[in-house]
Symmetry: C2
Subunit: 182 residues, 2 copies
């Protein structure tokens, strides 16, 4: 038996590469190496369930690797810095796209609206908390947290559009410097 967990990474890549509508069952089947029978055995709810599970797994990954450390760090400034590194590695400097961001921009936002909202709201909240605990006042922390998430998402867009990952790294270097200084 191959469980859902084993199929999710390949599934995620298909959705990332082709979007929800563009990810046909034929592509999904090829990418996962699973026939339709197996896919519908693992995900009785079909494509919608596959996408839900992928979003959930991504959410879990971010919660565990980024949000929780930000909230609980003893040295919050270091946690923020570690987040920048983890995010850069995860999105491969903009070569890899943010699936949750794509869903937010697409017409599937309504279908997965709450998952998308929660992912970004918790990101901003965790970052706000870390920034505040590292010595900023509440308003400045909230503003900077929002700006950081915005710049990450925007840098992915621009780096991909210009097909130039240095756009991503350059923006993040400047942003990290401002975050450390502020």
């Amino acid at each position: 038996m191959t469980g859902r967990a084993e199929a999710l990474p390949a599934l995620a890549e298909v959705f990332r590469a082709h979007g929800y509508e563009g990810a046909s069952l034929a592509l999904i089947s090829r990418a996962t190496g699973l026939g339709k029978g197996s896919l519908y055995n693992l995900f009785p709810g079909g494509k919608a369930e596959m996408a839900s599970c992928v979003l959930e797994e991504i959410d879990n990954w971010f919660e565990h690797n980024l949000y929780a450390p930000l909230r609980q760090a003893e040295r919050p400034a270091e946690a923020v810095s570690a987040m920048f590194d983890a995010v850069e590695a995860y999105f491969r400097s903009g070569r890899r796209v943010c699936l949750v961001g794509i869903v937010a921009l697409s017409s599937e936002r309504d279908r997965f609206g709450e998952a998308v909202r929660s992912y970004f709201a918790r990101w901003v909240a965790a970052l706000t908390e870390a920034l505040q605990r590292s010595g900023r006042d509440a308003a400045a922390s909230a503003a900077l947290a929002e700006e950081i998430v915005i710049q990450i998402q925007g840098a992915i867009v621009l780096a991909r559009a210009l097909d130039d990952p240095t756009v991503y790294t350059r923006a993040m270097t400047a942003l990290k410097a401002r975050t450390a200084a502020g």
Copy 2:
């Protein structure tokens, strides 16, 4: 005769709302009020040609209303400020999505890669020029120009994800202030 020009706004909205793959000819036909006969009469190249034309029209709009003014402004600082206002109105504070950004994130980037690249490259270049002529050095101008485009794209993503246009206006207010100050 209804020309291409009259059909383009409705076409653009369909592509914005559903992406390239999700924009079926049935949706396009409904949105434009044109039957297949008319659509293929206007756009013999089918969906690909429709999308090309839409991207070209968007490009023309940005070139004429944003890039050219930025490059030619006698008072470049005012041109930058006017750009912020025009962009906020165009994207309706993030309620409306950037079609070129969406294409950049999708698998259609390869099909329309050069159009996407050029749109963003010229945006950054025009902004760099205006910032430089308003008294910044070359390096600082280039960095800030890139950051502005990044924040615009990111703010659209986050505002839509959180379903909260104030995210967009808030980010832009802070960015405008920094741009004016710098």
